[in-house]
Symmetry: C2
C-alpha cells in the first residue's frame, strides 16, 4: 500500500485552500489541504509500525518551526498545477532532507518546492485563466508547525491518517 508524509496547516489555512480546491482540484475530496513532505511510497501494512518508529525519531529531534505561506504560483509548463507557495525555510528543508535519507532514502522525482495545491489536471486554457485570477489575491499566512502526519491510501484513492508526530519532544 501507499504511504505519504504531510503537514496539515491550520484550520483557517485549510479553509482558504479548500475554497479554491473545491472548484479546481479533482483530488479535493481525497485528502485535506496539505504540504507534502515525502511523496507516496510503497510499504506493506505490517511495516506501518516500523515507519512510525523511525518517524518518531526524526520528529523528536526537530523543533516546531514557522510556516510562511503566500503568493499563488504554478508548476507549468511541467505540470498545470496551481498552488500556494510555502517559503522554503532551512527548517522545512532539513525536515524534507531527513525524510529522503537513511531509513527514508527515496529517489526524488522533483526538487523540493513546498506548496499547497489549489488546482490540478487543468487544460492549458483553464490553467491560464485560473492562474491569472488567483495571482491577484493578496494573501499572507504565518503559523507554527508542531506536528507531522503519516497517511496511507485506500483503494478509492483517499487518504487516512495512521499517526501524528509532534516535533521537538527531545528538544
Amino acid at each position: 500500500m501507499k504511504f505519504g508524509i504531510v503537514i496539515f496547516p491550520s484550520k483557517s489555512m485549510q479553509d482558504k485552500a479548500n475554497s479554491f480546491r473545491k472548484r479546481y482540484d479533482p483530488h479535493y475530496a481525497l485528502i485535506p489541504p496539505h504540504i507534502t513532505l515525502k511523496s507516496p511510497f510503497d510499504a506493506t501494512e505490517e511495516k506501518a509500525k516500523e515507519i512510525a518508529q523511525e518517524l518518531d525519531k526524526v520528529s523528536d529531534k526537530l523543533k516546531p518551526f514557522t510556516l510562511k505561506i503566500g503568493k499563488v504560483s504554478s508548476f507549468a509548463p511541467v505540470n498545470n498545477v496551481i498552488y500556494f507557495k510555502v517559503e522554503k525555510t532551512p527548517e522545512l528543508e532539513a525536515l524534507n532532507e531527513k525524510l529522503h535519507t537513511g531509513y527514508f532514502a527515496q529517489e526524488r522525482e522533483y526538487t523540493f518546492v513546498p506548496h499547497i495545491t489549489l488546482g490540478q489536471d487543468m487544460s492549458d486554457g483553464e490553467h491560464a485563466d485560473v492562474l491569472g485570477q488567483l495571482r491577484m489575491i493578496e494573501f499572507h499566512h504565518e503559523q507554527t508547525v508542531d506536528r507531522l502526519h503519516l497517511l496511507y491510501q485506500l483503494e478509492d484513492g483517499s487518504w487516512t491518517v495512521y499517526e501524528t508526530f509532534q516535533l521537538g519532544k527531545d528538544c
Copy 2:
C-alpha cells in the same frame, strides 16, 4: 469549531465500507470510514492542545483491544442509516464512557451503538431496498485497535486529523 473522536478500522475494513459508502453515503468524501466514539462537540482551536492532553491520559490507561465487525443493520425508523454493526465489547463501552465523563462530560443524544455507517440520508424506499440487499452479505472482520484519532471539522464539512493517541502506553 467542531471536534470529534473516532477509531479508523484497518485499511481492508475501510475499503470494504467505502465500496458501499461510495454509493449510499453522502458523507463519503468528508471523512474516511470510522467508528464514532464521541459525537462532534464544540471547542475553540486554542483548546485543541488541552483536549489532546486529556485524551492522552485516557488512552494511556486503556489497553489495545479486539474489534469485531459483522452484520449489516439499520437505525430505522429513528434514522434511515445503514451500518456495519460493531460488537459492543466491555473495552469499547469503557472507552466510550471515559469520553463522556469527567473532562469529556457530554450529554448523550442516543445510547452508544458502535457502528460503521455505510449509507444515510435515504428515502424510505431506497433504505428498504439497500438494507434488503446488504443484509444478505456474509461478512466478519476482527482486528486489534491500538489507537484513537482526534479530528476537527473544516468549513466545508470535511474532517482533518489533529492527533492520534496510542492505547496502553501506561499499561
